[in-house]
Symmetry: D2
Subunit: 365 residues, 4 copies
C-alpha cells in the first residue's frame, strides 16, 4: 500500500500556491510512489465533521501551474491550538493528531507563512505530527529563505501599476501615491519603486518625514517635472510625533497611503491622489519566476517526504533550494537593512528619495 501524505495551505494566498501543490503531487506520485491527500482550508479540513479531504492524483493537477489562489482553499482562522468555539478558543491539536492517524496520513506538508509554520512546528513537537514546511510570504520577509514564490508576481503587479500611474500623473501634474503590501518589510515597495521609476519610496525600515519628501518633490518641480510618484509600503508611517503604535494608527480607518497623503498636504500645495493596490497584488497568475520557484519548492518537499525527513522547512539560499530546521522559521523576520541593502544604495544613486534626506535638495531631474 502506498504511503499517504497530506498537503494544505494556510494564511493569506499568494501566486504560486497551486504550482507548489502541482509539483508536489507530480513528483510525489510519479517519482516517489506516494499517495497525496489534499486537506481543505488549512487545518480545518481535518478537524471539521465531516472531514474535507480529497485525493490529489495526476489528473487533478491539470491547469494548476498558472492558476492563482489555491485549489485547497485557505484560511487564517483555525489554529488547532486555539480553535474558535462558542465558549472561546480551545486546544484541538490532539484531535488533529487523531484525525491524521485515523486517515492513515503519515505526515503533513504545510504551505504557509510565519504563523502557520509556528503552528506546524508546535504540532510536530507537542503532539507528534510529522511535518514539512514550505514557506509562503508575499512580503518576502521570512528570515529562513532568501526569497519565496509570490513576491515577484506582487512586484510585477505593483510595477505595472506605477507604469500606469506615471502617464496620468504626468498629464495632470499630480503627486501619485501608490500603497503596496509590506506590513513590516519594504521589499515590495523597494523593488517595485526601482522597477517602476518611482521618485520616492517609503518603507517601514526607514523613518521618514513629510518635509523631506516635499523637498524632493519641489526639487523636481524646479527642473520642470511638476509630477512625482511615491510608493509607500502599507506598514510605513511618517515620523511625525504621533506616538501611537503603527498598527493602531493604521487600524484607525486610514491606510498608509492616506496617512502619507495627509502628511504631505500639510507641507505641500499639490494635487495628491492615493491608489491602494491591495488584493490585486495577491491574485492573478504567477509570473514565470514564481512558477519555477514554486515548482522547485514542491519537488523538494516531495523528496523530503519520500525520505521521511520530517521537521524541515524548504528554503532558497544563494540560489539553491535547501532545507533548514522547521524551528528556524519561527519568529524571525527579514527586514531591509537601510544602511547595507545594495538596492537601497542603487535607488539613492539613481535619485530616488526615501524621506530621510535633508530638506535642502539641489535642483534635479
Amino acid at each position: 500500500m502506498l504511503r499517504r501524505i497530506g498537503i494544505l495551505t494556510g494564511g493569506g494566498d499568494a501566486p504560486g500556491l497551486n504550482a507548489v501543490i502541482r509539483a508536489f503531487v507530480k513528483a510525489g506520485v510519479r517519482h516517489r510512489n506516494l499517495a497525496i491527500v489534499g486537506v481543505e482550508d488549512s487545518f480545518n479540513g481535518l478537524l471539521d465533521t465531516p472531514r474535507r479531504l480529497r485525493t490529489l492524483d495526476l489528473p487533478s493537477c491539470r491547469g494548476l501551474l498558472h492558476l492563482g489562489g489555491t485549489v485547497l482553499g485557505t484560511t487564517n482562522r483555525g489554529d488547532p491550538f486555539a480553535w474558535p468555539s462558542p465558549e472561546g478558543s480551545r486546544d484541538r491539536s490532539r484531535a488533529l493528531a487523531v484525525a491524521v492517524a485515523d486517515e492513515g496520513i503519515e505526515g503533513l506538508v504545510v504551505i504557509g507563512g510565519d504563523g502557520t509554520q509556528a503552528i506546524a512546528h508546535g504540532l510536530m513537537t507537542r503532539v507528534g505530527i510529522p511535518v514539512i514546511g514550505v514557506p509562503k510570504t508575499i512580503d518576502n520577509d521570512l528570515a529562513a529563505t532568501d526569497v519565496t514564490f509570490g513576491f515577484q508576481s506582487a512586484v510585477d503587479c505593483a510595477t505595472d501599476a506605477l507604469d500606469r500611474l506615471h502617464a496620468t500623473a504626468e498629464a495632470h501634474d499630480r503627486i501619485m501615491i501608490l500603497e503596496v503590501m509590506g506590513r513590516d518589510a519594504g521589499h515590495i515597495a523597494l523593488h517595485a519603486g526601482v522597477a517602476g521609476g518611482a521618485d520616492v519610496i517609503l518603507v517601514p525600515e526607514i523613518a521618514w518625514n513629510a518635509e523631506s519628501v516635499a523637498a524632493k518633490i519641489n526639487a523636481r518641480r524646479a527642473v520642470g517635472r511638476p509630477f512625482s510618484l511615491v510608493v509607500v509600503a502599507e506598514g510605513s508611517l511618517p515620523d511625525d510625533g504621533d506616538a501611537r503604535p503603527a498598527r493602531e494608527r493604521l487600524r484607525a480607518g486610514h491606510g498608509a497611503g492616506a496617512i502619507a497623503a495627509a502628511a504631505l498636504h500639510r507641507v505641500l500645495d499639490a494635487d495628491i491622489r492615493v491608489t491602494v493596490l491591495g488584493h490585486l497584488q495577491r491574485g492573478g497568475s504567477p509570473v514565470a519566476v514564481d512558477r519555477i520557484l514554486a515548482t522547485r519548492f514542491g519537488v523538494h518537499a516531495a523528496n523530503l517526504a519520500a525520505e521521511r525527513r520530517w521537521g524541515r522547512l524548504v528554503a532558497l539560499q544563494n540560489g539553491a533550494v535547501v532545507d533548514v530546521p522547521l524551528g528556524d522559521a519561527v519568529g524571525g523576520v527579514r527586514l531591509l537593512s537601510p544602511q547595507t541593502d545594495p538596492l537601497v544604495a542603487v535607488a539613492r544613486q539613481t535619485g530616488i528619495a526615501f524621506g530621510d534626506e535633508p530638506t535642502a535638495f539641489s535642483a534635479e531631474g
Copy 2:
C-alpha cells in the same frame, strides 16, 4: 504660408489622447497641408504669460500611439469664462480670442469631455473662436457618440482586476467588491462585470438594496460557492433610506465600494474586502480598439479642420465616424437603460444580479 490649427486636451486624461493628437498631426501635416500648434494644459497654454505652445510636426509624433496620458498636459482648472484669480473667477474668454488671433491660429481642436465641450461651444458662439470638438469620456456617457476612446482600456483594466480578485476570493471564501469608474453611468461596471464573471453588478441607473445582494450571495453559498465578486460603479449607492444627495454621501470620505461593503455587513455575515481601482483605469497604454478609434477621430478632425467645417463634434454612430453639431454634445448624458439595454438582459440571463431582484432566490451556481 500654411494655415495654423491649434489642438489641446482638457479634463481628465484617458488612454488614447496621444493617439488622437498623433493622427491629427499625421493627417493634418501630411495630407492636408496644415501647421499644427499644441496648446499646453488645456486652454492655459494660451492664457498664461508667457504662452505655452509647441509646434507639432511629424517627428514630434513618434512613440505617441501607445503612450498613456497626454503629452500636451491637461487640467480641469482654467475655464476661460471663469478663470481662477486672486479676486475670484473672471471671464478671460476675450483674452483667449485675442491670443488665438495673435498667434495666427485659425481655429482650435478641443479634445475633452462634457464640460470642456461646453466651454468650446461657448468660445465659438460668444467670442467667435472657430472650434472642432473631439469627445473624451472614459465613462462612455456622452450622448452624441456611441462610444469613445479610453472606455475599452478601462474595461480591460477592470476585467483584469476581476480575474485577479476571483482567485483570491475563491481561496478565502470572501466577498470581493471592486469599485470602478462611472459617476453617473454604469457602462464600465456592466461591461467589466460581464467580461470578468462578476456575480453582482451595482450601477447608478438601477436602485439596489443590500438585502437583495445578500440573497444572491447566500444563494451561491447554498450551492457550494462561498465567495462572490461584486462590481460597483463609483456613483452607485444603496437604496437605504439615506436622503442625502449621492455626491454628498460620496464626498463624506468613503467611496461607493466602502458604502456598499458597510451596507452588506449589516445584513450578511461575511469577510468582505473592497478594492478601489481608481487611477489605474485611466493610465496605461490604450488597447488596440482605443488606438484605432482615437486614430479615426484624429483623422476626421484633421479633415474637418482642413475643410473649415468649424462647430462640429466628431462622433461614432453605428460604427461610422461622423460629425454632429458641437452644441449637441452639451448637457446630454447617455445612461444605461435598465429595461432595454441588451447587455443588462444578457447579464441577468447568465445569473448576474443587479441588486433589484426579490430576495427569495432559488439555489444556483
Copy 3:
C-alpha cells in the same frame, strides 16, 4: 422531463468558444429550463463508438469565461457527409440523425465557421436535424455577421507583437515583417497595423508590388527613419507575375511573410526579418470585448433553442445581436473593400502604405 439540447464546436479554435458554451449553459439551464449535452470533437462525439457526450451543468461552467481553446475539443476532420473511412469518404449523415434521436437530443447548437455551418445547414435540410448556428471566424470574414468573437483577441495579440518588434526594428535599423492570420481577408492585418503603428500593410484584397513597398521604406529612410514595420496577411502575395494560384504558391513551403521578404530583397538593400505569429493568435484568454460578444451569442442561442427557432444563425448587425437564416451564412465571405473601407482610408491618411501606391514617394516621417 427536460428538453435536451446538444452543443458542439467545429473547425479551428478561437478565443471565446468556451465563453459561448458557458453562456449557453447558464442561460439554458437557469432561465430556459433546458438540459445541455456537450458533444466532443465536433460531430465526432456523436458518430464514434462509444459516443463521447457529456452533461453540461452549471458547475461544469466554472472557470470557462476566460479560458482559451474549447473544452469540448474541435476538429476539422469529420464532415458527416464525407466521413473518412478506410474505403474513402462516405455519408454518415443519417447515422448522425439516428444518434441524435437515440440520445433524445432535440436539436444541435453548432459553433463553427463557414465550412461547419454549411454542414449544419445540410444536416437540417437533408436529414432533418434541427440546428442553430453560432458563427466563428477569427479572420472576421463571414458575411452574415459584422464581427465575431476571437477577432479582437487576435488583433490585440498582433498589436502587442508589433509593439515588441518596433523596439528591436528601431535598434537595428531593420525591416520587420509580421505575418498575421487572414487567408482571404485582411481584417486582422488592417486593424493590427493601424493599432500597432505599422508603416506598410499588405492584404489579399489589395494587389501590391515590391517596388512600391520599397519606395515607402526609402522615403522613411530619407527622413531619418531607417527601420520599417510591415504587416502581411497570410493570404497576401505580391503582384509579381507569378501566375500560380495563391494557395499553390503558399503551399510550396514558404508563407506570405517569407515571400514578401524575398520580393523586397530583390529591390531593396536591407536587413529584413520575418516573424510568423501563427498559433499564438488563436490561443490565449479572450480579451474583454470577445468575452462579452461570446456571452451575448451564447445567451441568444439559448433563447433560440428554448423557443425552438431552429435553422437560425446568431449574428451581430449594427451592434445588435440578431439571427438570420442559417443558409445565409454559407458561401459568403466578407472582404475588405479597398475603395470604401473607412479604416483603409484612415490608414492611408496617417501615412500607412498598402503597396499599391506609385513608387515616387515624397520624403516623409
Copy 4:
C-alpha cells in the same frame, strides 16, 4: 571641467539596454559628476564621418526605464579591428583611439555580449582605450555573470507563448513545438518549459532522439492526454546520424523547430505545428526583474568609471553585483550541465522529458 565618459551598445538588442543607459547617466551625472556621451550604433558613431555622438543628460533619460530596444542603436557590423570597407576589412582600432582622444572622452562603457566584450578587451590592451564592460546576453550564457538583464523578459515572453499554445493544442489534439532562443545554451528553453508546463524540452546540451520524444508523447496519449507541448532551443538538433555541423544544418533554410517536427513526423502519426518565437523575445518592455538588474549594472558601471577602475566587467555573482577582469568574459560560455543543473532534475521529476530517456515509458499523466 567635467570628465567625459562614453557609452555604447553593441550586438543584438535585449530588454533592459535603455535601463542600463538611464541608470548609468543618472548615477554618473547626479552623484559622480560625470559628463556622459552616447555613441550611436556601437563603435560606428565614433568612426563614421561625421561622428554620431550625443550628450546624455538627465532629461534625455526620461521614459527610458521601460523602453525596449536601445536609444543609441546597435549593430553587429563594425568591429574596429576588422572594419568593413570596399577593399575588405581593415584595422581601424587606432582611428578609434584617435577619435576617443579627439572628443575628450576618458573611457568607454561598452554594453554588449561575448563578441563585443572581446573587441572591448582588445581596444584596451592593444590601443589603450580605457574600457568598462557591461555584459549582455539574452541567452544567459556568459560565464562571468550568473545572469544578465533581458533573459527573464525572454523567459516571460516564451512562457506566455506556451500558455497560449496550451489552449489550442488541447482543443485540437496537436503536438505544438515552440522554438525559442538559445544557440549554444538551453537556459531560455529550460526556464520557459518549466514555467509554461511543457511536456518536452529540447536543448543543445542534451543529445535527444525522436523515438524518445515520441515515446513520451505516446505515454501521454495512453492516459488520455492526446496533445503535447515541446519547447526547442534554436540550437538544438536531434541525434539522428546527420553528421553535418549544427550551424550548417540550421543554415540550410530550416530552423530547429522545423527540424524537430520533421524528425517527429518520421516516427509519429500526429498533427504537429511549429511556432518560431524569434524577435518577439527581444522586443518589448523589460520585466521588473530585468529593469532592476539593468539599473544595478548601470549604477555599478558609473561607480567604476568615476573611480577610474578601467578594465572591469560588471557581473552578478551569488546575488551581488560585482566586477571581474574584463578578459574573463572573453571566450567562456556558460552551458547547462545536464547532470548537475538542479532545474533539469526538477523538470524531470515533474515529468518533463528531454528526449534522452529510454523509449519504454510507463503510462502517465
